[in-house]
Amino acid sequence: MSKQRLQNIPGNHACALGAVAAGCRFYAGYPITPSSEVAERMSAELPKVGGMFVQMEDEIASMGAVIGASMGGVKAMTATSGPGFSLKQENLGYAAQAEIPCVIINVMRGGPSTGMPTRPAQGDIMQARWGTHGDHPIIVVAPDSVAEIYSETIRAFALSERLRVPVVVLYDEVVGHLIETVDLQPAPEEQLASRKWAEGPREGFLPYRADADMVPPFPRPGDGFRTHTTGLTHDENGFPTQAHERVEAVIGRLLGKLDRHKELIESYEAVGCEDAEVIVTAIGISARAAKKAVATARKNGIKAGLFRPITLWPFPEEAFRKLSAGASAVVVPEMNAGQLALELERFAPGKVSALTRYDGEHIDPSQILKRIEEVLS
């Protein structure tokens, strides 16, 4: 392993380097704490590989420009934080509706509103899933280390391109600013591919007729397909329709697309869940604390386990149901008022104990350990 591959860098830099390794060649963004280092690093890295960096006039424009670049066939990304993430939501919905691949980094800070720009939080768990209006497909991945920010950013591009769906990389300020060692290995071959390009006859081409995998091939502008792209509900030909039987079919495919590829999308880490009496479920820096708490509990003779969704949305429901079936309690430490706990309550009814904190401080392992002991007593 070359020396240069191992680097001590903050999470936000690892994100930028992961994007470049994934083949991202367009970045548009707007400064916002605590995500700005992603933009700064992209502005330094992209020119080296022939990529375009542009600082746009606002968050909305950044999201628009990213989608515009991707419409042109280029892998594109933006990064933001809470308030900016809110502003991007309309265009994010456009990307979901028109099936334009794009990656959005959201480094979570305290909210609501301007909140606590320099303090960490995990309050965007639900915004990441439901932030834009209407039913829509979206993938959210939630890395908990600098190394994982690097690898999950690469995977985010792979999923986005493969499935033509926006992918959010969601992590908190702590992980974003954490400095850790990361192995900057090249992106795995199978995660480097661009979207499936449209080929074959131009005459009669239907841009939204999906293949058997429920993903339509992407007509690259300039290749002679001359198609129409719109945020209006559209039929397979790309033109607007409000005919209810057609709407059901096309929106049904949009929503079903992720179900079909569940195995590709889902990712989680499970430690000691098989015999666990209590399972701790968390993301980001809260998961790091949970890992420590679970290890200490095990040392103390408590059968504790960790279930950490790496793909947060769609939530790895089946795996969680299976692994938590034997446990009597599920402790959910999270830096918000209980967003993930509420979701898990659906899968483990009556067992969930939310450990929430929204004062701008991260959750300490000792707090989690205490809660583990409490739920078992």
Binding site: F26, M52, V54, G64, A65, V66, G68, M71, P221
Partner: protein, 282 residues
């Protein structure tokens, strides 16, 4: 570039005829703007495969769908933001933005001034009909004073933007205005705008007959179009420095023709030069 006479220009070659009849109201000026635009495209010999139309929301926004090209109907007010990404990623495409007075001056105003400042090689066609037609006729940033709309039931009391002065002040390197009254003149302006290397802002005075015209008793469609004549003063106002009008509001009569032009560096080229220098240094 070939001059194509009005008679020999075949607009059908540039249309998705299977989508007709179109959805614009009878007498709407937008169709004439579309004819002028496609006529300019034809004269310039632009390959339809390499033509990208990006439009926002509103009556103007829906026009793109009828053009046989790569057409992108995006979110309200954002076509210039989308087009900026598209043009930077794909400099090989000719990118034309179709927007309206509400789309570009109200909800998308920020994108307009920054597109002017950046000077990326995009042609922006702003169809000004002084009204939010698609949503039923609400007041817009260009509605003439005292006019009635569904949200100014007692008459409009807000001043109207002069979009061209705004664009020029923000740095657009090509600014022009024409009305739908003279399609060949409009075509020539659009052609010049597309040919111009840099950001071109073109305001097209268009009429909303069904909603705005009817509500304000401005006459039928031909009468409205003819009345444009009395409002136009076809001369350049010579740029901001020499301009006698000291407010960004639209005067009446309004100036038409090429109103501002300079040959400053195009943004995409600047970007590519910056990248090339960095790559050479690596």
């Amino acid at each position: 570039m070939n001059e194509i006479s009005a008679d020999s220009f075949d607009i059908n070659e540039y249309l998705r005829l299977e989508l007709f009849p179109h959805f614009l109201c009878p007498g709407c000026g937008h169709g004439m703007a579309m004819r002028a635009m496609l006529w300019a495209v034809a004269e310039l010999g632009i390959d339809k495969d390499n033509l990208a139309i990006v439009s926002g929301i509103g009556c103007s926004g829906r026009m793109g769908a009828y053009v046989d090209a790569n057409t992108f109907h995006v979110t309200h007010g954002r076509p210039l933001a989308f087009a900026t990404g598209l043009k930077l990623a794909r400099p090989d495409l000719t990118v034309i933005v179709i927007t309206g007075d509400g789309d570009s001056l109200a909800i998308g105003g920020n994108h307009l001034i920054h597109a002017c400042r950046r000077n990326l090689d995009i042609t922006c066609l702003m169809l000004n009909n002084e009204i939010y037609g698609m949503t039923g006729g609400q007041v817009s940033p260009t509605t003439t004073l005292t006019r009635f709309t569904t949200t100014t039931p007692y008459g409009n009391y807000e001043p109207a933007f002069d979009a061209c002065r705004l664009a020029e002040a923000a740095g657009a390197s090509f600014v022009g205005r024409e009305a739908t009254l003279q399609v060949p003149t409009l075509k020539n302006l659009i052609r010049e705008g597309i040919e111009h290397k840099g950001f071109s802002f073109l305001e097209v005075i268009s009429d909303c007959t069904e909603i705005y015209g009817r509500k304000n008793a401005l006459g039928n469609s031909p009468e409205m179009v003819l009345s444009q004549k009395s409002k136009m003063r076809p001369e350049s106002y010579g740029g901001l420095m020499s301009n006698k009008v000291d407010q960004p509001f639209r005067p009446n009569p309004f100036q038409t023709g090429v109103l501002a032009r300079n040959e400053r560096q195009e943004y995409g080229e600047l970007c590519r030069r910056h990248i090339a220098a960095k790559q050479q240094a690596e």
